[in-house]
Symmetry: C2
DNA sequence: ATAGTTTACGAACGTTCGTACGCAAATATG
DNA sequence: CATATTTGCGTACGAACGTTCGTAAACTAT
């Protein structure tokens, strides 16, 4: 059996290189070397460089969205929703560092039709979080400021983790609780 | 006179393209078109693509550092120092959107020796801010959490501005005060 | 063992990249 | 006006890019 072991290796290596150098600056020859192949041999397992990015972006996007669905269905308290989202982002950033990278930077290099689909999912995800925050402001649970700014602050707070996540310098739980607590403290009324 | 008008145009256009597509994905032919020239003609004004990036990175780095020097020399209150830094970052992100881009992403594509020099300045800048935050924690002015996490949160809070700074959707002053207030509220004891 | 399928390779493709060079037009300097 | 300098263009370069293709070796299943 051993289903797709090489293919998984390729995706893992690609993720690592995309984080380190970015999609455009990562060549198929580098990637091949990373998994011990020649460049042309990659195409026995994947169909294109674009496929690597597309797969990563879409699986991350749907993963985030699925989590949001789940959280919002079981949790009605606005603060708890935001806390859960924060936890999920931080955990994901630790365990699957490519997620924040593609969500923040590399999605730009998607081609159609994947690009549009990704943007649609991402917009959906973001507008639902924005809506939660706007509700929080309306209900005087959150500080009375432009919800869009609060939302952007919320979103960007996770973006540093993957950049410094070299040898897991920090304790995940520590980051998770500190970051979330400080963030919520800032935006709560 | 009209010193270097074309050269400035080139830098401005390059900054715009680096923000929009990234350094690696911006070609000299695109850049040339943006300023109404042929690619080869760019080299009457600049010496290389790398020079464009190097100039941007170094001038931004020294600008941030100079501001930090100035702030820390006139202001001793830790909260006020952090507030000033926050203001400066946000104002810079609005008025000179390439700054956060190169500081966050594009500096990676610098070549030696500029890369090392940039990293040195950047490290200097960051460790001084970290030191201020650590002081704040020690003096119980800031919340009793890992200063490194607080520092990273602080730094990353500005990184969203340039990405959405398309048609100046927001009022600069609004962003400046909201973001800074929420941020400080979060990290203050 | 045989046949079929998957995996890997080397060579080569068409393109695009950053940039060098020689020359003409434009501009500045005397 | 004559001269020197700057600016721009067309062409072309070598290198690197993603990818294709024919083929051979390595596995899998019968």
């Amino acid at each position: 059996m051993a289903i797709n072991k090489k293919k998984d290796q390729i995706f893992t290596a690609a993720a690592k290189l995309f984080i380190e150098h970015g999609f455009k600056a990562t060549s198929m020859r580098q990637l091949a070397k990373e998994v011990g192949l020649e460049a042309s041999s990659l195409y026995s397992h994947i169909s294109s460089k674009q496929e690597l990015l597309a797969q990563m972006c879409m699986s991350e996007a749907t993963k985030y969205l699925a989590n949001l669905d789940q959280v919002m269905s079981v949790e009605k308290d606005i603060i708890n929703v935001l806390r859960s989202i924060s936890y999920f982002h931080i955990e994901t950033a630790f365990e699957d560092p490519v997620s924040e990278t593609v969500f923040t930077n590399e999605w730009r290099y998607l081609e159609e039709p994947t690009l549009s689909e990704f943007k649609r999912i991402r917009k959906d995800y973001e507008s639902r979080i924005l809506h939660v925050i706007a509700q929080g402001v309306n209900q005087s649970i959150l500080i009375d400021k432009d919800p869009f700014i609060l939302f952007q602050l919320f979103q960007s707070s996770f973006k540093w983790i993957y950049m410094y996540n070299k040898p897991s310098k920090w304790n995940k739980e520590d980051v998770k609780h500190t970051l979330t607590e400080v963030l919520l403290k800032g935006i709560k009324k």
